[in-house]
Structures are given as structure tokens and as C-alpha cells.
């Protein structure tokens, strides 16, 4: 299972290049991550609706590629800002984790030196 906030970032990112309907979002995420994240489509819709309520997204009924009525979502300014923030946080988080994983040997930073300075 994926953390809720993480799923939101993925969905926001999926909408960055323009309005998409729910299936297209699911499809894009699956294709982009090579289905590594195993997101349930239902969770994705929940995320879409929740973000619509928060006004990060807005929706409209439109016509799909093969002429069927579909509900399209698009980013609002609020959503765009949210995406920027989340992306920044994620990147620095990932970098931090990455640094830890790449560490070579213990004690690069003496324990307690911060308290002494």
C-alpha cells in the first residue's frame, strides 16, 4: 500500500500536462511506474475526488477520444502549487534517504560534536 500523500502527488503530476479523465490518469501512472507501485484504481478515484473537494482539482464532463462522456479533471492554481511543494519535499526526502543508503562506514560525523559547538 502507498501512503495517501504519495498517491496525491502522482495524480497531480499526471494532470500537469492538461485535463485527463480518471482512467487516463490510472493508465499514465501505471505506464510511467511500470506498474511497480501497485496502486488500486479505486484508491486513485478516491484521491481525485478528495483533491477536487480541496479545490486542488476541478472537474468537468466532456467527451472522450472514442466519443463517450467522461469526467475530466484538471489542476487548479492551488493544485499546481501543491504539486510544486510536494515535489520539492519528495526530492529532498528521497535525496536524504539516498545519502543514507550510500554512506560508507560509520562515524563520518562525530557524535555529540553538535552539542559541543
Amino acid at each position: 500500500m502507498l501512503l495517501q500523500g504519495t498517491l496525491d502527488v502522482l495524480v497531480l503530476k499526471a494532470l500537469l500536462w492538461g485535463p485527463r479523465h480518471g482512467y487516463a490518469v490510472a493508465d499514465w501512472i501505471r505506464a510511467t511506474t511500470d506498474d511497480a507501485l501497485k496502486v488500486e484504481d479505486g484508491a486513485l478515484y478516491t484521491s481525485l475526488h478528495r483533491m477536487e473537494k480541496r479545490k486542488w482539482l476541478e472537474s468537468e464532463w466532456g467527451v472522450s477520444e472514442n466519443n463517450r462522456r467522461a469526467k475530466y479533471y484538471r489542476l487548479t492554481e492551488l493544485g499546481r502549487g501543491q504539486l510544486r511543494r510536494e515535489a520539492r519535499d519528495w526530492t529532498s526526502y528521497a535525496e536524504a534517504v539516498f545519502k543514507v543508503l550510500r554512506a560508507e562506514g560509520p562515524g563520518a560525523v562525530p557524535v555529540g560534536s553538535e552539542a559541543g559547538s
Binding site: 482512467y23 478515484y45 463517450r68
Partner: protein
């Protein structure tokens, strides 16, 4: 963004609750279709694809539930937001409408402000008199006035608000009363010498202020300990008097003031607007026992026949008012048990502090609710008027309305914008109305109801009231046009290439015009009745000439001398005053009309043991010096008046009688030379007959009067007043006071009062009715005329095309004019008929307030009808004239 919103609206507006669910279902249905399609495109069979899509989705039922919940939630919020935005739209439409026709808006605001203002003004007055207890009374509901219902000697029931001192002491013992206080209001002369004035003074027990719960503005009130016989002479000033006479200086406390027959030390100032229990202003409060002894001696202390106190009581906490009433009644009856003449069934009433609720309200107060009703009529009228103007515009815009409806604007929004427009107008009018209420209220109060202390600020309540009335009026005025907008038939309107060529006026508009005319008629009938009442009351021959008589009262220095001493004092004053330039006559009288009158036993003629009685009682005696009839402006009808030569001990006995006296006593004989026997005195020869005159009021039966020279008074009566005849009593008064104080030794103070001021209050209720009915009536007429004019003018503007065609076809100007005029007059005529019928039904109810006029006086009704029709003709004349000026070519090319 706009487009987006629009699409949303089409799909979402007005969807019922279940539809957000369907939205979710549709969205998911699309998802599954798309997923299955995509999977099949990669080579799966349909059933495999379905299974895979479901697997990828997760727990479908659970997610669907969750999504529906979210959607419903969002929907609710969205609806709330939408309705809020609806108000915004309505206001925006309203402002746009107003800006499109600013002159019309100004007119409507003006009309509204007059209507609301009239109501606010009347409410301010009604509020003070009928709705609120006197100012500065704590927990007024617990404070009661004590009245006694009992039969008088003739067996007639009456309500006595005045009681004796022992009665008051009895009630002090009632346990249900936490505190009891007595007070007595009167006018006393205040100050010394030429500056002396008559002022409203209240004697109050020491318990008075604590009972009411008032706190002094300055210094302190007198205490129950100070209120005892022979106590310290202290006084509390009324706030208004303190500000007026002492300039609001704190140093007033500690100074001394001469009130009546003694000098008092000022110890405090009452709070602003404090009037005790009544509504009239009080200038000075004095301790009851101290001032009572100074002014009236000690007789009242144990007399059960001296009714001069009013009593208030505060109910003890938790006391049952009915039980308290019963207890007070029991005490009262027990104390009077020995008195056979006293009504054994007498019962106490514990009445509200609000005077008008006690059934003892004066005529002026009784006029007020009528005037409030009139103000409400005026308001309805203004609502009808504004409603009509809005309606006219709604009709003008019906094409626009139809287009908007066709484009999907909801009727709700259309109605909302019309109501919002009338609300905005009404609220603007409400603001102006407060200004009118403040100004108009001042005017009414100071000129028409001066006996009431108004300083207790009512402004906040008046403002709240105005706001409420303005909102109500806005809704009311908006209802008619709103209904109209809401009903307009889209297809019909769009199909007809009308563009204002059809008859523009709706039935509703005509109805409103008729209503306006009818209300105007009712108000004008009321106005006429009051104006004629006042006119007739003024025309009543009092006998006297109030405009040129001045009353002068003299107070001696120190102890009051015997009657002869007072006569001497008055005689000296009379000599001084008679010498003043501008004084045409001066005389002394022992009873002054409208102040006092007396009758005595033992009056007869040689042929009659006792005199006949009239509806006004037996014959009234007055003893006067020479010049009395001249001074009061009474005409001598036969013979001569009394002279100073008659007014000596040694002169022969003579008398003058009035018309009624002469007619009743000597119906068939010449009254001159007849003999009048007054008690033991020898025959007084009748030397003259004087015209009839009133004793107290305008509505009284003619009374028999006879006049004797002062020196021949059967009892040693002190003079009551010195009466002066002069062209301008008001202007001469200061000179009179000064000349007497300066020249006559032994005079402490002189008070003066133009006779017109004595008589004035008797006309007040008619003045009030005439002035306000008049103001409202004119207002109504104006508004109705404006309404008729604007609707007709609007009509003409709408019918330009038609009129153009008609005039192109050769219709004469005359026909066009008579068409429009006839139209206006027809509406006014129906209104007049309805109004007259309503007036005929309503008018008899105000009969008790009228004076010598039939409430259905045909002349009045006819006059009003004619007035209204003339005004209607004028109001339709202008649009009619304009109709003839329509240029056919221009009109036809216009659209």
C-alpha cells in the same frame, strides 16, 4: 474558467440529492469500459479483461461508497455557495437596474423615505407614550400605580388615581409591597420678583427615588429620614431645569431656590429624562412632608377627605400581583369601614406604569394610535407606488426577461433580482427615513405634545424600527413586480413582435393605482374631519378674547395675609399696571375662567326661593372690580358693566348677570332693574346683561353666571387673578411683573400667563390630529398623484408606436388627450368610490375625537372626491399632453 462554469451549471444546477450518486456511477462505468477496451486491445478476451479491470480497481463496493460520500459532501457545499452567489447576483442586477434609471430610483427612494419616515416619526411618539415605561425606572414591570375603583356620591363608577395620606400609610403596611411611595405634582411659582416663573414641582416621599431605582446625575436625592414634618428644606432639580436655569453648572448643588412659599437648598440633580412616574417634565422635586407642610399646613396628615397624592408601589420579589391587589383592597376597605358614605365595594387596581394602558390617557394620547394607523396606510401607499414603478419597469423589460428565461436563467433568480432592487431602494429610503423621523419627531413633539418630557432617547429603537419597516416595505413593494417577472410567458413574449406596442399596463398596476387613490381619499377625509373640528373648536365663542388677555398672580412676602390684605396688595398692583402704556383695562377677579369657578347657596329672587339649574349646575358667582368685562373681552349686551364706583362698601348693591341667567330667571321680563338676593345682603339691582362665557372647556353646557362688585363679596374671598387687556400679552408680561415687584411693597413674586396659553391645551388633540392627518393626507395625495402620473407617462412611452400610427392615421389630438385623461380619471374615479366607502365605514370610529362635525359629513366627502379627481386630472394631463407630441415618423422608425 467561464466556459467551464457554464458547463457545470448545465449539468449540476438544480440536480436533486440522488444525482451526485449517479455522477459517480457514470464516472466508474466509463472507467471500466475504457479499461476493458484497453485490455482487450492488448489481446485479452472480454471476460479476462473484465476480471483484470476489477482486480486493478480493488474493492469496488467499498470505493464506490466512499466516492459517493465525497461527492454528496461536495455537492452540499456547492449548493450553499450557489445560493450565496444568488444573493450576490440579485444585488448586482439590482444595482444595474438602479443605475440604468437613476432619476426613477431617486424618486422611489424619496417616496420610500417619506413612507418609512412617517412611520418612524409616529413610532417614536407611540413608543414613548404607549410602549415604554417612564425613563430610569428599574424593573418597571414590578412597579405599579395604585388606583381605586369606586362609586362617587351619585353612584357613578370612577377610577381615582389620587388618594389621601392615611390611605398611603395603610398601603405601606401591605406585605406584598416591597416599597411604597407617594407623590403629588403641581405648578408652583419659583424664583423671586420679576424673574418668578411657574414651574412643575413634584412633592415626593423619601421612598420615591429608591423605589424607582433612579440614580442622581449630581449630588444626592433626599432620603426617607429627611422627608419628615419640620425637616430640612432640601430640593432636587430636574435635569432639564438644571441645564436650562443653571447652565448645567455643578455649583447649583448647595445653592438655594425659592419654591412656592419657602426657600430650599439644592442637594442634587435627577438623571436626564427622569420624570418620576408620569411623562410630563418635572423641574423640581421636594420632600413630601416638608413641602406639604409649607404649602398646605398639616390638615392632610390625618385627613381621609384630602385626595391629592398619587401612589406607586414596588411588588416584593415573587409577590403575586393578584394577591397584592387583594391585600391592598382589604386594607383600604378596612380603613374606610366606618365611613358610611364611602363605597364599601371600592377596589384597588395595581396598574401599569405605562400611562396609556391605564385607561386614563388624555385625548392627545388617544389620537396617537390613529395617527400610527394612518402612517401605516401611508406606508402601504408608498409600497404600492414603488411596487407600481418597479412593475412598470418590469413590463418594459419583459422582452429582456423572456430572453433571460429562454437562456436558462431561473425564475428564482429573476424574482430575486427584482426583490433585491426594491430592497436596496427601501433600505436607502430607510436611511433617509431616520433623518425624517428625527426632524419630524422633534417638530411634532415640541409643537403638538409639549407636556411630555421626550429626552429619554428613543433613537436606537426608532432606528431599529425604521430598518425593520424598510425591509418589510422593500419586500412588499418587490412582491408585485416579482410575481409579474416570474410569470412572464417566454414563448408568448418572444413571438409577439411587441416591443411595447401592445397595451403596457397590467391589471395589477391598475389595481395598485386604484388602491392608492382609495387610501388618499380615506386620509383626506380624516384630514378634513380634523381640520374642520379644529376650525369649529377655534370658532367656539368662549365669550372671552383669549388673544389679548393676560393673567397675573401675586404672591405676598412672608405669611399669607387675610383676604383684605390680599385685596389691598392686588389693588395697588392694579393701579400700577393700569398706568402702564399699552394696558387697555385691568381688573381683579376672585375666580379666573379656566382656573376656578364657584357657586354658593342662598341665592334667590323675590319671586323664586331658589334659582333654576342647568346642565352645568347652579348659578356661578364671581366678584370683580370695575373693568373686568373689558379686560376679559366680554361684551355687555344690555345695560352696563360693573365699575369702580360700584366697588365700595357704601355704593348701592348692583349685579350683572349673563344671558343664560337672564333668560332662565326672567324669561318674560326685562332683567334690568330686577332684584337679586344673595344670602343676607339687600336687593342687588341688575344693571346689565353680559354675554355667556365658558368656565373650563369647549364642550360644556352654557352656565348661569352673576357678577357682584368685589367689595360686596358675600365671603372674604382673596383675589384669584389680576386680568389685563393688552394687544400683545406675551410682550407686556415682563414689564407687568417688573412694575409690580418694583413698586408694590410686600410682593414676593408675580407670575404671568397669557390667557391664550391657559386655553391652548384644550385645542391640542384637534391640532395634533389636523396637523398630522394633514401632513399624511397631503403626502398620500402627492404619492398617489405621482403614482398615477408615472404609470400613465410610462404607458405613453410604451405606446409611442401605437400613438404614432394613430396620429399618422389622422387621429386628432383631442382624441388622444381625452383617451389618456379618461384613462387616468377612470382609475381615480374607481379609487374615489372605494375610498369613500372605506371612509364611510371607518370615520364613525373617530367620532369621539372630533368636534361638532358628523364623521360622514357629505360636504367633506364631496370636497375630498373633487380634490382627488382634480389632482388626478392634473397628473394625467401632463402625460396626455406628451402623448400628442409623439412624432409619427420618429415613433415608427424608433425600433
Amino acid at each position: 474558467m467561464r466556459r467551464f462554469e457554464g458547463i457545470r451549471r448545465v449539468f449540476r444546477l438544480g440536480l436533486a440529492g440522488g444525482d451526485s450518486d449517479r455522477d459517480v456511477d457514470r464516472e466508474l462505468a466509463f472507467h471500466f469500459e475504457a479499461a476493458v477496451e484497453a485490455l482487450m486491445a492488448r489481446g485479452m478476451s472480454e471476460s479476462e479483461a473484465r476480471a483484470e479491470a476489477r482486480r486493478r480497481f480493488g474493492d469496488e463496493a467499498e470505493y464506490r461508497r466512499e466516492l459517493r460520500r465525497l461527492a454528496r459532501d461536495r455537492d452540499r457545499r456547492w449548493r450553499a455557495w450557489e445560493s450565496l452567489r444568488g444573493v450576490g447576483w440579485a444585488l448586482r442586477d439590482a444595482v444595474r437596474g438602479i443605475r440604468r434609471a437613476p432619476a426613477l430610483a431617486v424618486a422611489m427612494v424619496a417616496v420610500m423615505s417619506l413612507g418609512v419616515g412617517a412611520n418612524a416619526t409616529m413610532f417614536g411618539i407611540l413608543d414613548r407614550i404607549f410602549l415604554r415605561p417612564p425613563a430610569h425606572v428599574e424593573d418597571p414591570d414590578e412597579v405599579r400605580r395604585v388606583f381605586v375603583h369606586r362609586r362617587d356620591f351619585n353612584g357613578r363608577m370612577f377610577i381615582s388615581s389620587h388618594h389621601t395620606y392615611p390611605d398611603y400609610l395603610d398601603w405601606r403596611g401591605v406585605e406584598a409591597f416591597e416599597e411604597t411611595a407617594a407623590y403629588s405634582a403641581r405648578e408652583l411659582t419659583v424664583g423671586h420678583g420679576a424673574a418668578a416663573e411657574s414651574r412643575n414641582v413634584t412633592f415626593a416621599t423619601g421612598s420615591f427615588f429608591p423605589l424607582l431605582g433612579a440614580r442622581p446625575a449630581l449630588g444626592r436625592f433626599f432620603t426617607p429620614e429627611e422627608d419628615r414634618l419640620g425637616g430640612e428644606r432640601v430640593a432636587v432639580l430636574g435635569h432639564g431645569y438644571w441645564r436650562g436655569q443653571y447652565g448645567g453648572e455643578p455649583s447649583a448643588v448647595g445653592s438655594t431656590i425659592d419654591v412656592g412659599e419657602a426657600t430650599y437648598t439644592v442637594i442634587g440633580v435627577a438623571p436626564e429624562g427622569f420624570t418620576g412616574v408620569g411623562l410630563g417634565p418635572v423641574d423640581i422635586f421636594l420632600p413630601f412632608q416638608v413641602a406639604g407642610e409649607v404649602q398646605n399646613g398639616l390638615g392632610w396628615v390625618d385627613s381621609r377627605g384630602w385626595y391629592w397624592f398619587e401612589v406607586v408601589a414596588r411588588l416584593a420579589e415573587g409577590a403575586n400581583p393578584e394577591l397584592a391587589t387583594a391585600a391592598a383592597t382589604t386594607v383600604h376597605r378596612a380603613a374606610r369601614a366606618d365611613d358610611e358614605n364611602y363605597d364599601a365595594e371600592a377596589r384597588v387596581e395595581l396598574a401599569s406604569l405605562i400611562l396609556a394602558r391605564t385607561g386614563q390617557a388624555a385625548d392627545e394620547a388617544r389620537v396617537v394610535p390613529w395617527l400610527m394607523g394612518v402612517a401605516v396606510l401611508v406606508l402601504l401607499l408608498t409600497c404600492a407606488n414603488v411596487g407600481n414603478l418597479l412593475l412598470a419597469r418590469a413590463i418594459q423589460r419583459r422582452r429582456e426577461t423572456a430572453v433571460r428565461l429562454a437562456l436558462g436563467t431561473s425564475r428564482g433568480r429573476l424574482i430575486g433580482s427584482v426583490v433585491a432592487e426594491s430592497m436596496v431602494l427601501a433600505l436607502l429610503g430607510g436611511v433617509a427615513a431616520v433623518a425624517i423621523a428625527v426632524w419630524g419627531g422633534d417638530l411634532v413633539r415640541s409643537f403638538l405634545l409639549p407636556e411630555i418630557a421626550w429626552s429619554g432617547a428613543t433613537t436606537a429603537r426608532v432606528m431599529l424600527f425604521s430598518a425593520a419597516v424598510a425591509i418589510g416595505a422593500g419586500l412588499l413593494a418587490g412582491v408585485f413586480p416579482a410575481l409579474r417577472s416570474g410569470r412572464s410567458d417566454v414563448a408568448e413574449t418572444l413571438k409577439s413582435q411587441s416591443r411595447g406596442s401592445s397595451r403596457g399596463r397590467s391589471r395589477m398596476q391598475s389595481g395598485l393605482l386604484v388602491f392608492q387613490a382609495a387610501v388618499s381619499v380615506v386620509l383626506l377625509v380624516g384630514t378634513s374631519l380634523f381640520v374642520l373640528s379644529l376650525d369649529r373648536a377655534r370658532a367656539v365663542d368662549l365669550g372671552y378674547d383669549p388673544a389679548s388677555a393676560l393673567y397675573v398672580g401675586i404672591e405676598p412676602e412672608g405669611e399669607y395675609p387675610e383676604a383684605e390684605g390680599m385685596v389691598r396688595l392686588y389693588q395697588e398692583a392694579r393701579e400700577r399696571v393700569a398706568a402702564l402704556p399699552g394696558v387697555e383695562a385691568a381688573a381683579i377677579t376672585t375666580s379666573a375662567p379656566f382656573r376656578s369657578s364657584r357657586s354658593i347657596d342662598g341665592v334667590r329672587t323675590p319671586g323664586m326661593d331658589s334659582l333654576p339649574r342647568t346642565g352645568a349646575g347652579s348659578a356661578y358667582i364671581n366678584t370683580v372690580t370695575g373693568g373686568y368685562f373689558e379686560a376679559m373681552g366680554l361684551r355687555i349686551l344690555r345695560g352696563r358693566g360693573l365699575t369702580d364706583a360700584d366697588d365700595t362698601e357704601s355704593a348701592p348693591h348692583v349685579a350683572v348677570v349673563n344671558e343664560t341667567f337672564a333668560e332662565l330667571v326672567w324669561p318674560d321680563e326685562d332683567p334690568l332693574g330686577q332684584c337679586l338676593l344673595v344670602q343676607e345682603a339687600p336687593c342687588a339691582t341688575i344693571v346689565g346683561v353680559v354675554e355667556n362665557s365658558r368656565r373650563y372647556g369647549l364642550v360644556e353646557d352654557p352656565s348661569m353666571k352673576y357678577y357682584l362688585p368685589l367689595a360686596k363679596s358675600p365671603y372674604a374671598w382673596p383675589p384669584n387673578r389680576l386680568v389685563i387687556r393688552t394687544a400683545d400679552p406675551e410682550a407686556l408680561a415682563p414689564t407687568v411683573r417688573r412694575s409690580i415687584v418694583d413698586a408694590v411693597p410686600g410682593v414676593r413674586l408675580v407670575s404671568t400667563q397669557p390667557f391664550a396659553e391657559v386655553v391652548g391645551p384644550r385645542y391640542r388633540s384637534w391640532e395634533l390630529g389636523a396637523a398630522l392627518f394633514g401632513a399624511f393626507g397631503l403626502l398620500a395625495l402627492l404619492v398617489a398623484a405621482l403614482g398615477l402620473y408615472s404609470v400613465l407617462a410610462f404607458d405613453i412611452a410604451q405606446r409611442r408606436r401605437e400613438l404614432g400610427i394613430r396620429s399618422a392615421l389622422g387621429a386628432g389630438r383631442r382624441r388622444i388627450v381625452s383617451g389618456v385623461l379618461g384613462d387616468g380619471l377612470r382609475l381615480a374615479g374607481i379609487g374615489v368610490a372605494v375610498g369613500l366607502a372605506a371612509a364611510a365605514v371607518a370615520a364613525p370610529r373617530i367620532e369621539p375625537l372630533l368636534f361638532q362635525i358628523e364623521p360622514r359629513d357629505p360636504l367633506v366627502l364631496a370636497m375630498v372626491a373633487v380634490t382627488l379627481l382634480v389632482v388626478a386630472a392634473l397628473a394625467s394631463g401632463v402625460p396626455a399632453w406628451r402623448a400628442t407630441r409623439v412624432d409619427p415618423r420618429e415613433a415608427l422608425e424608433a425600433d
